[in-house]
Symmetry: C2
Subunit: 439 residues, 2 copies
């Protein structure tokens, strides 16, 4: 019997760690996830905007790991940890002992203390949220088509994306394409081009982690798609009829909109907070668990916290960003560090190798900040396409995503623009009826 390694979470960090450990016979690996699939989050916004289908960006964890005979997969939720007994407690009452633990439970949407905003401004972390956003975007055009009151009509055609990071830019750009191209000719009363798409950020420019010239290029590309950015503003309220924005000088403006999307902030997962509590350490900024340069929380060389739930700084003291490449590098590193320690050797410190950042805006339009090289436009977009296809799991998924992109490129059609899910059309009808004067 080898040593027991438990990996929590099948995202980039956990899955890449499992792949590295899966070839070794001297460890018994258990991967626990609440979902039965690995989700390729970088393309989730394309599910939310009807370009891809959920199954295109998700891959069953069991299928990925089925030939790793030392690895078992558990579909379950971990509710607690006992770091002294080295044991995890699952929601169904089972317990799982570990010798080594990799925590890669990711991040959740964060509303800066205003949890009530979640209902009106969904974020983009899960497949269900993506299809919910898809529902809201597409339904807004349907409602506008039937809404006679000019003020309400305009509110249905107003889309506010909160957060000007890569996800917000991608969502707003896709909304611009939907309005300009995809829905062209589909309606009889609505001109989809009348849609007002606002991208809101608290910093003084979009994509603030990128260099200013790339921010400017992105903003211009968004303007070409009909997206207007509003920077230097804080969101002070969100409800079913819109958002209120406050400028640095204290002036407030109200935007009447029925579709508000949240791309403004994430925080470490709930299990991260539980872990910090049980270890007696304080959470860092963004609800993340502070770890040393070996991905270990203080005093626990048997626990590795990686990816979006971890707070780790580089040699200069800057926090590593919450992006996929960090998790993709920490996962295999943590796996190898465990094998080293089992062999009685101390691994060298983890060093993040930053290969650059990418944000896509629309067709043939992206910005890329690579080491020593900035790209915009078609070249950046091709780089984005290539990298995302390369890292997508599963050859079938790659082929189908490629075909959907090609169709979208040549026909502007988004085949997955279905209104499905938990808000029933009848329910929305009633909401619409409530908003109509005189009904």
């Amino acid at each position: 019997m080898g040593q027991r390694v438990i990996i929590l979470g099948g995202g980039f960090g956990g899955l890449y760690a499992a792949r590295t450990l899966g070839t070794r016979e001297d460890v018994e690996v258990t991967l626990i996830d609440r979902r039965n699939f690995h989700l390729f989050q970088p393309l989730l916004y394309q599910v939310a905007t009807g370009e891809l289908s959920p199954a295109d960006v998700a891959f069953p964890l069991r299928a990925i790991l089925s030939n790793r005979k030392n690895t078992r997969v558990i579909l379950g939720e971990v509710s607690d940890i006992d770091p002294v007994k080295k044991e995890l407690l699952l929601a169904d009452g089972a317990s799982e002992p570990y010798d080594w633990l990799i925590v890669s439970t990711g991040a959740r949407n964060h509303y800066f203390g205003h949890d009530a905003w979640a209902e009106h401004a969904p974020g983009l972390k899960s497949l269900e949220e993506a299809t919910n956003i898809r529902h809201r975007i597409l339904y807004a055009f349907e409602a506008a088509e039937r809404e006679m009151d000019p003020e309400e009509h305009r509110a249905w055609l107003t889309f506010v994306v909160v957060g000007g990071g890569p996800t917000g830019v991608e969502l707003a750009g896709a909304l611009g394409e939907i309005a300009n191209d995809t829905l062209k000719g589909d309606f009889r009363h609505v001109n989809p081009k009348d849609a007002r798409i606002l991208l809101v950020d608290a910093a003084d420019r979009l994509l603030s982690p990128f260099q200013p010239s790339l921010s400017a290029a992105a903003e211009q590309a968004l303007i070409d798609l009909g997206v207007r950015s509003i920077v230097n503003v804080m969101v002070t309220s969100v409800d079913e009829n819109g958002v209120t924005l406050k400028s640095a000088d204290g002036t407030e403006q109200r935007i009447h909109a029925h579709t508000v999307l949240w791309a403004a902030g994430v925080a470490g997962s709930a299990f991260g907070a539980k872990l910090a509590d049980r270890l007696g350490i304080a959470l860092q900024r963004g609800g993340r668990v502070p770890v040393d340069d070996h991905c270990n929380p203080a005093g626990h060389p048997e626990i590795f916290v990686i990816g979006d739930v971890a707070y780790q700084t580089d040699a200069k003291g800057n926090a590593l960003p919450g992006v996929a490449p960090v998790a993709m590098q920490q996962g295999p590193w943590a796996a190898k560090a465990i094998l080293s320690r089992i062999a009685g050797q101390e691994p060298k410190a983890f060093r993040y190798f930053d290969k650059g950042s990418l944000a896509v805006i629309g067709r043939a339009s992206a910005v890329a900040q690579l080491p020593g090289l900035n790209l915009t436009g078609l070249l950046a977009w091709l780089a984005w396409l290539f990298i995302h296809l390369m890292f997508l799991v599963g050859f079938q998924n790659r082929l189908i995503v490629f075909i959907r992109w090609a169709f979208n490129y040549f026909t502007y059609n988004r085949g997955a623009r279905l209104i499905t899910g938990d808000i029933s059309p009848a329910e929305r009808d009633r909401k619409l009826a409530r908003n109509q004067p005189g009904v």
Copy 2:
């Protein structure tokens, strides 16, 4: 201004009618549907079994009809009809007057008066139901993997499909393939081949509308996939722990199963009942609206009821079956009949041309009853593949479905086997915990 034609429902009947009317300038067409897409129901069971993704079998109605400039599409629910004023009332309070009306609102699941069974035995009429069934099937294997009690373990691995028509046969066959091939090697405690798949029917054989030799061929093909059929039994109860079956001789047997799927019966849509009530006519068998050989309910030459919501008999007095080809022929016929009557001519009676019936069991396995020719095995399967790809709307959908089928054929993988949707894993965990002795 041309005459106003309203089409209710964008299924085969309504969509095919709209396509026929969409090229004419002398009519104004309005298509009303609760959903924004046409659903290709014959492939819905493949969504339920993880082979296809929802977007593969659905196509946005607006995109199909966008170049029909005389046609508008309304996303909405019709709540009532006034046949004297010739007006429809929508759930949001709007009203829509018509000169001609085509009712093709389809069918819903029918539990023979036991509506409480619906919760425990979902049917297969909508995309949401398909993903719900997918969730239940895949979750059952996950739960079995973690269940230590032998009796409960067996109940999680027992699947009961109620109804031995084409849909039931297709579901049971796909379940057999999932257990035998798709999940092979995915689990460490469960051997998916241990799954017990039972197909239950009240008639004395499966596929009773087919010729007995084809029923026998289907049953043998199912046995090869590990599916056992139980015929000549009535379902007398369904709950979360299984079903009770009663034989003709009165003996009862209880089957302990956590996954029960309903393919036993459908009834005409709720709007059909409303329409019959407003017209003062009695519903026919299966909650269908009786119509004459012109698809008109008695005394209303301006109303056409077609597809699964209609009850129409052929020259011999036999009711037309509730299958796609009937609706596909009635739709264009009703469209042309309206144009004839507008031109002052009386159309000839509708005649259904029966091109045959098909049911698929699994890979390279199907039965086909064509005029003068019965096929089984590979040939029937190829006919089934060809016909379904041909009638699927959208070239992109056809290409992607073809690719998914090819991958499934060669790798046995089902890329869309995602557990998503409204039953959260945590909720299921608690349910599982409740069922565990001693927890």
